[in-house]
Symmetry: D2
Subunit: 199 residues, 4 copies
């Protein structure tokens, strides 16, 4: 983080929980990037090459993709999860990435105490409401500080993307923007308390 | 709230999620009262006489016990839930009280934006881990700001209470004290940001 | 149960999880009654007067309404739950009734080994998907044999009821009928195995 | 399946939800193999080489390990899941395998209508109670017929394995045996109804 007064700039690590190239939650990530408030930066914490969790592999040393994921999270002031829904729950792919990231490494847990927000998009009428519910139960378990509202649960997203696969729908973009503004405030609340304590 | 500098005093509404007189979670509440940091006050938000939720009853005007619950929460800076586990989940009794308290009333939701912490005690080996998990998924839904850690999940509590039904075990009291200290800090983080914004 | 060959008649206890008179899930119950296959009977297991669970009260002897609930379930071959959604979860009112019914009484648990199905209706777009998910996690905990499909999750139910508050929509009635047919089969599978074992 | 009268033989696909070689849930699987009732066979449905789910990969044709998983399940009369707990929930690794297996393939869903049981072991005091709870909510979503009881949730498993990493504790083996006996009965109930219907 860096900045003066209210204009503190924060960096956010974005985790996109689906691997397919044309993923709706990747479109949601892109929409967040393009709707970003001026005092937020967002970088992707990529999970594409993170292998299936295996403690034997971990014991042999972090795979490169895991080290990258860890570093992206560690260097960020908050985490935004772009959360699909598979079988009414968290995609295995996404839970697997969090299983890696949650592990103690060099005496540190990179997720611990991190502010976190969730957005999600799905076709169908439920808009990831069930995977977000599961996510809400998981994240505090990892020591994360979960922003409770405003929710972004985009249903029937296939009707909201344009021909290029972008979420161009203005109402949706407005909700994303509100979420990001609120998330800046959510990060700021904790960062401010931290600065006060140190000064 | 009232106070000077770091010594800001906060008031907490405690909800005890079990009705029986000898409830272990009531013992936990009493232990919290007796282990309270000097800058916290705690008052019980009683649910004993809160009736089963029924919208017809609500439409006819809040029953007295509901008005009392609402007022106790509304006047507090944070909520602490002493959460039993019934059938691996949140007791119906406790969920029912939250169902009432969550309702819009005179344009306000008393739970919204409130800092909230959870402690729980049970006999058996699980120590309310499952009801606390369900609670973690519920509270952000109500707009509450959930403190993720430290967890207080007291298993086999029947071995930890003394002849008077009090939780006199020193290790347990220490964990409760840590939770309360952390909860003071959790409330303070949001209150401080609020004060900054207003000034 | 009573019957000849495939035409075995089964009795079902219906639990309506909301207390208000105009409840959508009561409308769903009435729709089930009117769409009932000829080999099913359904009687309501009423929860309106079931008090908040309190072990002190239980120790003093079952309240009348609890005895009635227990008896209705005990005398049935299966249980159908008409499940609303409050705050993204099981209504406290309904969980409270199950908390009572789950208790060991005279050496018996009336819910144990009972076939069970779930239907739900709500306004809004989610159609009780989240409370049904919570219910699915709860019922096996109570020893119940949960029919996995077909799901009945009726969203925006306010558009489907007629002026008398009845669910007259034909498509919806068809889904209810399918659920009931499947539930007859679900009960029959276990009853048949029981008869084989005894013979 | 094959057999005469009560002695019908059923085949079970076992899914071990953890990849490390010394996994406690693999030990549990081995214990199940060695405690198997004479009328059950068990074969592992291996997930070690199942890649992270990616619809682009699926569209290009099932990877070999996925085809193998599907085939092992498809050829079985029931599925037993040996379910670890990661971060208070289902391991990403295991959810990922189920995400693959749940997909429609050549007009079929191999998990649909399959009887399923869950066992789990963990160090710590909770014995996978939370991941089993999440699993119970997931499996009916996949159309599976979940055996509700008896639960096998082995806590502090590290104290129950011998020097060779085997679950030699007799009490534990007895609980596993009971689960397997009950699972044979659970499969048989549905298979019997199916045979009746066909005859």
């Amino acid at each position: 983080m860096a900045g003066i007064g209210n204009a503190t700039m924060y960096r956010v690590a974005g985790i996109v929980g689906s691997l397919r190239a044309g993923s709706y939650n990747r479109a949601l990530f892109r929409a967040a990037v393009s709707a970003l408030p001026s005092r937020l930066q967002i970088v992707e914490a990529p999970i594409l090459d993170v292998p299936l969790f295996n403690q034997d592999v971990e014991d042999a040393g972090d795979p490169e993709a895991v080290a990258g994921l860890r570093q992206a999270i560690s260097g960020a002031d908050g985490v935004l999860i772009f959360c699909p829904e598979y079988n009414a729950g968290i995609p295995g792919v996404l839970k697997n990435a969090l299983d890696w990231a949650s592990r103690m490494h060099n005496g540190q847990r990179v997720l611990w105490d991190k502010p976190v927000g969730i957005m999600g998009a799905s076709d169908g009428r439920f808009g990831t409401t069930r995977s977000q519910m599961a996510m809400r139960s998981l994240l505090p378990q990892l020591g994360m500080r979960l922003m409770p509202t405003p929710a972004v649960m985009i249903a029937q997203v296939e009707e909201l993307v344009d021909d290029d696969g972008n979420l161009s729908d203005e109402k949706t973009r407005e909700r994303i923007r509100e979420h990001l503004e609120a998330f800046h405030h959510w990060i700021d609340v904790f960062a401010r308390a931290e600065r006060d304590r140190e000064s």
